[in-house]
């Protein structure tokens, strides 16, 4: 048996989650005493194979097919390679594209799937640590049998480093004609302001409750000479434009000071702002995950605290 990791790339660049998945895959391969195989599908596979040759990788399989991600090609390539190298475990990034084919891969291989792992343990079988109830709790999940597909959350494993001595082979695989065709990409969130350039951000979340209350946070941003940003629900509701969104699907920001107002700190949001120098959180829920990464916190009602804070700077 072996462990198979499938890499991910976009517009000519391997994504970091590929190297993180290699680390998670190596962890499993060590626990099982088996080889680690890495698959890379589409794009400049030769160049990608060279970059993926990190410490701990035993073999790399390059599958040339088009330029970009196609879930049918990825599913078919991973499924065929999993059979060829007898991969008991297939490890993929828990990314938007990972979730576009990992479930289909598990289904076609007829093995269990666990997504969004934040930790793994392998003894007699696999135990996965993952969150539930919007990150309020962690759970452990035991997986029956010794074959499975696992997707791993970004940022939870360090990226694989160094240069390995993996064999590289071009895998000849018949890929199906796809009924889903990528016609292009669109950058979203352009416009008048780039929140990534701001030194101080005042960021507003679901706790603001109503659209008309956004004005209160605008006033705070003005008083502090800060730029206004937001978490996802505010943009979903159309209360602020997409170019103000901080998080995984929005902008990654690293200001000197980030003030999170009424933001609980879901993992997708935190991924976009955890690199800020100083993080301040104002939230009613003392257990909100935003306090885990905050440097300063006020547990209180934003509608009481924010007007007072505006007065302080008036």
């Amino acid at each position: 048996m072996s462990v198979l990791v499938a890499a991910e790339h976009r517009r000519g660049e391997l994504r970091d989650v590929s190297y993180e998945a290699i680390t998670a895959g190596r962890e499993l391969a060590d626990a099982r005493g088996v080889d680690l195989h890495v698959a890379v599908v589409a794009g400049d596979v030769d160049a990608f194979a060279e970059e993926l040759n990190r410490e701990g990788v035993d073999a790399i399989h390059a599958v040339a097919d088009g330029e970009e991600f196609d879930h049918n090609a990825y599913r078919a390539a991973a499924s065929t390679l999993a059979d060829r190298v007898d991969a008991g475990a297939v490890v993929l990034p828990n990314s938007v594209n990972g979730l576009d084919y990992a479930p289909a891969l598990a289904e076609s291989l007829g093995v269990p799937l666990v997504t969004d792992a934040v930790g793994i343990e392998y003894d007699d079988g696999l135990t996965v640590t993952r969150e539930m109830y919007g990150s309020k709790v962690e759970t452990t999940v035991d997986v029956e049998g010794d074959r499975f597909v696992l997707t791993v959350r970004g940022g939870e494993w360090p990226p694989a480093e160094g240069v390995g001595d993996a064999t590289v082979e071009t895998a000849d695989i018949d890929l199906p004609e796809s009924g889903a065709r990528v016609t292009g990409f669109e950058e979203v969130g352009g416009g008048d302001v780039d929140i990534a350039d701001a030194d101080v951000l005042v960021s507003v979340g679901r706790g603001i409750e109503e659209e008309e209350n956004i004005e209160l946070i605008e006033d705070l941003a003005d008083a502090l000479g800060a730029t206004l940003s937001a978490s996802r629900p505010i943009v979903d509701n159309g209360w602020l434009p997409k170019n103000r969104q901080v998080g995984q699907s929005g902008k990654v920001v690293t200001p000197d000071v980030y003030i999170a107002v009424g933001i609980s700190g879901a993992v997708q949001h935190v991924a976009g702002m955890k690199g800020s120098d100083t993080i301040v959180a104002i939230n009613t829920d003392p257990n909100a995950p935003i306090f885990d990464i905050a440097d300063y916190g006020i547990v209180g009602d934003l509608f009481d605290v924010v007007p007072e804070l505006i007065d302080e700077f008036a």
């Binding site: 991600f69 269990p112 539930m132 999940v141």
Partner: protein
Amino acid sequence: MKVLVTVKEVAEADDDFAIEGTDIAESDLEYDLNEWDDYAVEAAVQLAEAGIADEVVTVTVGPERSEETIRMALAKGADRAVRVWDDALDGGFADVASKVELFEAVVAEEEPDLILGGVQAADTGFGATGVALAERIGFEHAAVVNDLDVDADAGVAHVHRELEGGVEELTDVDLPAVLTVQTGLNEPRYASLRGIRQAQRKEIAVKALSDLGLTAEDVESALTLTSMYEPESESDAEIIEGDAGESAGRLAEVLRDKGVSA
């Protein structure tokens, strides 16, 4: 065309909650329509209003309690509902394959042209059922859709998939297809009073495993939830105490120290 929408009633934990065994205490959970599915229902109802969908049917795996949530989807404009439940489904930690087994049986009865569901459920957060279902039933699919334009005559859905980092992928998906819907796709409506009244008269067909030609063995899960706990707080935040005025005053000092000023 006929649109099937997967609708889940999810549990949300109160701010203060206790864990009993491997789950949150029932008294500390509130049940609601899964946020992502709300957008899927809206997308389906909009297709009906645009004359593209002839019928919108919801399907839910859940106990009788979930009928309140199902009525909400019906009040927003779905035509009728299927609810699958069985004692064999109670208490376990369902894996993706067992859910797919149930949905596959419903799809065989309903024969939809398009299946919409949320990207993930807010409670378990697997984000996998839709894509696994597509593979099982031989439909095309797209995950994490945040823009949708169905061309029924051409048999294609033009979608945007929301990738990471502010990039959207534009994809043409052949029908029949399963699309998993991201929040922000549309503006989910509130149910009108008229809608709520009408929903009371709409059909919710309840199916047990045997009604779908399945047995308890078909839905055995390969996953077991073995523990649940509150993650240890890694917080080393300085929590500023005091009433609103005091804490704002202290925070203002901190911010000025960091060079913040208008």
